[in-house]
Each structure stands twice: as structure tokens, then as C-alpha cells.
Amino acid sequence: MKTKIIDRSRCVGCKNCELACIVAHSPGGQLAGAYAAGIDKAVRARTKLEVDGDGKRFPQFCRHCAHPACVDACMSGALEKRADGLVICDPDRCVGCYMCVMSCPYGNARPSMGEAQIMIKCDACTDRACMACVAACPTGCLKVGEGTEAVVYNVVG
């Protein structure tokens, strides 16, 4: 399957992945419109650049876990681990209880902002040809390859 490969040693902290994700999930899907209604109404990225305990940049991406804690926590059935390996949220079923936010050990199940009170998470850009974050990453920190898991962190650096 298509695997997102993350080599965090290459991350320069430009946050282009975040913005690309915001744009990909904004109505219209264009950069020009992403902030048009004001920052309070802009959608939130499904990913976040964080600083790790070691002080280094840590691009924090959903891992589409083999045993997703977010799915176990979901009391509405909105979150599902699909047969293709992806963990996907159905926004119509989500009630915004944020049990998943409480449960994802990596912080990738996130409360929405600027949208209805629902959780948001990486959908692996299933409706796009290429994952928006990967396409926007200028350093090669994010790449797509073949593998058996949806997301792989190369543990170096």
C-alpha cells in the first residue's frame, strides 16, 4: 500500500504541511480562500508541527495505528479502522465527545476549530491524488513509498 514515510531529521519546521492540510480541507480547497472568512473560521490542520521533548522539531502525523486507541474510544462509531488500513472519521456520526482526543497517545485526534464541534483527524487525503502535506513538504521529510503500513516514522535524528 501507499505509505507516508516521515524522516523527522529532515524537518525544518516550515509548517507547510500544516497549511497544505488546512487548504486541502477548506471549502473550495484553494489557498486563496483558506483564511478568507477570518482565522477564527479557518479549518484546523489535521497535523501539527510540535517540539519533541528533546527540543527537536517533530512533525506530528496520524499513524493510522494497527490498534487505534481513537477508534476504541469512539462511542458514536464515527471512527473506523478500515479494511485498507486507514483510520477515518465520519463527521456526520461524530458527536464531538472528544473521547478520541483524550485517547490518541500521539495527539493526532484533534478537536475541530472553525467547524462544527467534531473531531478532526488525518484522512490520508483519500479524495486527492497525492497527500497534500507530502506534496507541500520542501525538504523530503515527508515522502510516499510502498509499504505495509499507512505511516512509518523513520527513527533517526
Binding site: C14, K15, N16, E18, L19, A20, I22, V23, L31, A32, G33, A34, Y35, A36, A37, G38, I39, D40, A42, V43, R44, A45, K48, M113, G114, A136, P138
Partner: protein
Amino acid sequence: MARCQSADTCLSAFLEKKSSVNTAFDRMDEQKLKCGYGELGVCCRLCSNGPCRVTPDSPKGVCGATADAMVARGLLRAVAAGSACYLHVVESTARRLKAIATGESPVRLRAEGALDELARQLGVSGGSVLEKAGNVADAVLADLYRPRHEAMTLVKRMALPKRAQTWEKLGLLPGGAKSEVFDALVKTSTNLNTDPVDQLLHCLRLGICTGLYGLNLTNLMNDVIMGEPEIRVARTGFSVVDPDYVNIGVIGHSHSVFAGLIQYLETPAGQQLGLVKGAKGIRLIGLTCVGQDMQLRAAGSGGAVFAGQAGNNFTQEALIATGAIDLVITEFNCTLSGMEPIAASMKTKLVCLDDVCKQTSSELIPDRYGHELELGQRLATLAADQYAARRGGVTIDIPVHGYADVVTGVSEKSLVKLLGGSLEPVIALVKNGTIKGIAGILGCSNLAAGGHDMTTVALTRELIKRDILVLSAGCTTGGLCNTGFCSPAAKEWAGPGLRAVCEQLGIPPVLNFGPCLAIGRIEIVVNLLAEAMGLDIPQLPVVISAPQWLEEQALADGCFGLALGLTLHLAQPPQILGSPVVTKVLTQDLEQLTGGKVLVELDPVKAANALEAVIMAKRAALGLEVPA
């Protein structure tokens, strides 16, 4: 990896052939991944707490600046820088005029008639020609150097009275131009002004400084020094270069910086320098806007030593790659850094006359007032020596490129002259609907909006097809000349009304006003139209577009257009879309204030539709026939 394409297919083919040369057309692909924060204008690098980027997770800078504040600050800084660039040009032109007036400079004034008109307009007197010239220069310099709290006195003499009233009402009458720039920098520093509306008004004031001083007064003083434009037919494109001559490429924006060199080359002694090295002589090759200026005024100065305009900003690297250029002289932008390695490989010498455009490998030979002829001689000698040293060692390959029948030399005065003494014929054509309106296609070229000159050409094609007369100035016209739009045959691409007019007057559907400084001339034409029709500018069926605007100067020019009350089209938005307030003010609210507004549309057909709709709405409001 794909090389960026040009609307000028000969140029694209030449770049294809020269694939071992790295140009902006190649680097565009390497840089295709853009930073969205920069595009939206929501990355602030003003202080050590930054850079701060606005996202829904971090909606404010550390200082508390919102997206609106960051965007407005960024825009005002850019406009201030752009304005500063043009003010640098007008300042140095006025100082040259002053140096000539005092007798310090040996440069001779080529158009005394133009001086009389300018002095009259500015309300400046003087017994002798030189005294008058000195007083004009003093009046301009005095305004430029005024403190911010003192309004500049020439504004009301340059502007349409109705406009000046509107500006006064809105508090837009600028204080001393350089102080306006200075305070814009103050305002946009960190933890100072964060009111987007105040900053946008400051942009408009800088627009007025830019337009009336940076553009118009530079043109009018250069007309006095270098001669007035006259309509004539000329060749453009790389084919203007003859390898048998010593070829000096010129890059910049200040025609009169070359006064000494031109004056010297016009003498037999000047040409002799080339002849003794075995060349047929020494000639100047136009690049960027200063070349456009030389082409514009070739009838009055340098006609014999100016080979012609080769191309606009992004053609310079290719021109040097032909191997036929021995020396490149730069005095302002658009001096592309990318030319340096190409010049090195072609053994082309780079000289710069003003440290504002100093490059790593160029030799700085400062242009000093009073020493113009010495400088001219030194440059001619350098060029001839370089010719002798490099020819034989480099391959010369000049493509067949450009058009031989480009109509040039159009100015506010030469146009009136062509029309028989007034703008009435044009007004009549507009009123009866033969021409629906007028569009100024202005500014730069970039590689971003579809490719080099792509949007400029496509939009122009759409407009003339719709019987809209196009006036062009800047690198847009450089591109339009090399794609045939400024040649009489272009009438075939025009709609029936405009084509008939072209045939009747023997003009192309796109009138080539020359350099970007001549955006000011087009705006004078607009002023004259408003005056003749008894209207204010926003009422006219006139629009402007800077389809492929490139740099900060273009933004400052654009602000002048907005202050004048014109609808300004841009193919790509400035870096403002992160701010709903700035975006809304510029694209909507401003129309209630000055009458101007920004219209952003990348697609040339849609843009032409939108611009046509604006023209039609203005026609309708004037009770003019609105053709279906």
C-alpha cells in the same frame, strides 16, 4: 522538470537550444513549491520572537498581531520599498537636471520646448533656459525632501482638480515623499501601527508620491534632458543585435544616466573606439525599461547609436547567452542576479553605475554629476576593450527574433499630435461605441502567471478582440512588441471596431508607451480624457491591469492607479489573502472612497470578461451605448 514557457515562442525555442545555460526559466521549476504563509502574507519576521505564522492553532503573533495587522504591515512595507525605488529615480533625475542647470554637467538639454511646458505646469519661472531648468529641479527636490507634515506643493499642479479634492477629503495629500516612505517604515516596524485601514491609506499616499513624482516627473524631466518621444517604426527583439558591432546591453530605469555615454557615442571619436578594434562601431542594446526609454526617445537622442530594444526583464539572461553582448551596464532594476554566471561564461563584462544595483561580479563605476562625458568615454573604452579581448573566444548565436515594424514613441503628447491636436477623435470613437473603452496593460512580466508574458498576451488578445484599445507600458509592452501586438498587422486580432480604427489611423491595437515609468504617461492620457469629457477618472470606461506584476514597484504603481480611482486587475493577488480586512478594503470598500478597486483573476478570459463588464457598467452610467 520542465522549463518555464514564454508566450514569445522564439525565446522559448532559443532557451531550449541553450539548455546548458541556467536561467530564471529553469529556476522557476526548482522554486515551484511555494510557502503558503508567505503567499497569504501571514508570516511576520519583524522581531526576535518570530518568525510568527498565523494558523488556526496560532491565530496571533507573539506580539498579538493578527493576520490583518501582519498583512497590512507587509503590504505597506512593500509599497514603501517600491515607492522608494521610483523616488530614487526621480531624485537622481532632478539632481542631474540641476547639475546641468548650474553648468556643472556637460550634458546638453535636448528639448527646451518641453522644459517650457513643464515649468508652466509646475508654476515655475526663470529667465534663461538653464535658470528655468534649475528652478524646476529645485521645486521637485524641495517637495521630495519636505518633512511629512508639509504637503508637497506640486501635487495639486499635477493632479486633476477633482482628484485632488477627493484626496484632500480622504487625507491622502502626501507630505514630503521621502518622509512618507520613511514613516511607512516606522509604522510597519514591530509594535507600532497595527491598524490595517490606516496602513492602506498610507499605501495610497505612497501611490500618489510614486505616480506623480516617481513616474510623471521623471518622464517629464527626462523628456527635457533626452528629448521628447516621437511616433516612429522600429525593430525589437534579439535581431536588433548585430555581432559586427561592439554591443553594450543597458539595464535600468534612468534614461539620463546614459546621457553622457549617448552623447559620447554620437561623436565620431566615440565610434572610432570600436572601429579601431575591428568592429563596425559601438551600439547600445536595450533591455528592460531603460531600453524602452531609449526606444521611446530615439528620435530625440541616440537614434544612431541605439540598436533597438531586445526584450523585457526576463530576456536578459538569454540575450547574454547569445554571446553577442560585450558589456552590460546596469544602473537600476531589473538587474537579475542570474545573469552573472552567464556573463562570466560569455566573458561579458558587467559594470554598474549605481550601488543600488551592485552585483557580486560587476564593477562599480559610480555615475557622478558633472562627469558624464568622462564616464561615457570610459564605458565605451571598456566595451571596445572587452570586445577585442573576448571575440573569437566565444560562440555567438543570435536567433532570428522579434518584429521589424513595431510602432513606438507613443506618449501623451505624440498621441495627441497623431490625432491632430486633441483626444477628441478617440473620445468620439469611445462615445459611439466603435471602441468600447480603454485598458492600460501595465507593469512587469513574471514567470508565475502561466509563464513568461503568457497572461499579458492572452489578456491583451481577449481585450482587443472585444474592441477595447490597449495602451501598454513597462515589461508588458516589451513582451507585446516581441509577440507582434505592437505591429500594424496585429489589427487582424482586433474586433471589427478597433480594427477599423487601426486601419484608419495606421496604428496597432496596442499602443506602446515604452517603459514602466510611462505608466505615468498613460495616466496622464486618462487625466486628459477626464478633463476633455468633463468627468472624474472613476467615471471613465477605462481600466488598468498589471497582469504579471512582479515586484514592489508594481505595487506602488498599483496604489497610484487605485488613488486615481481606476479598477486594477492583477492575475495574482499580492500577499494579502490571509487578511479578510485588507482583501475586502482593496477589492470592495475602496470603491466607495477613491473609486478604485482591485480585481484578481488568473484566467485571462475571465479577467477580460470582468474588465469588459466594468467598462460596460461605466458606459451605462454615462448613458453611452452599451453594445451587446
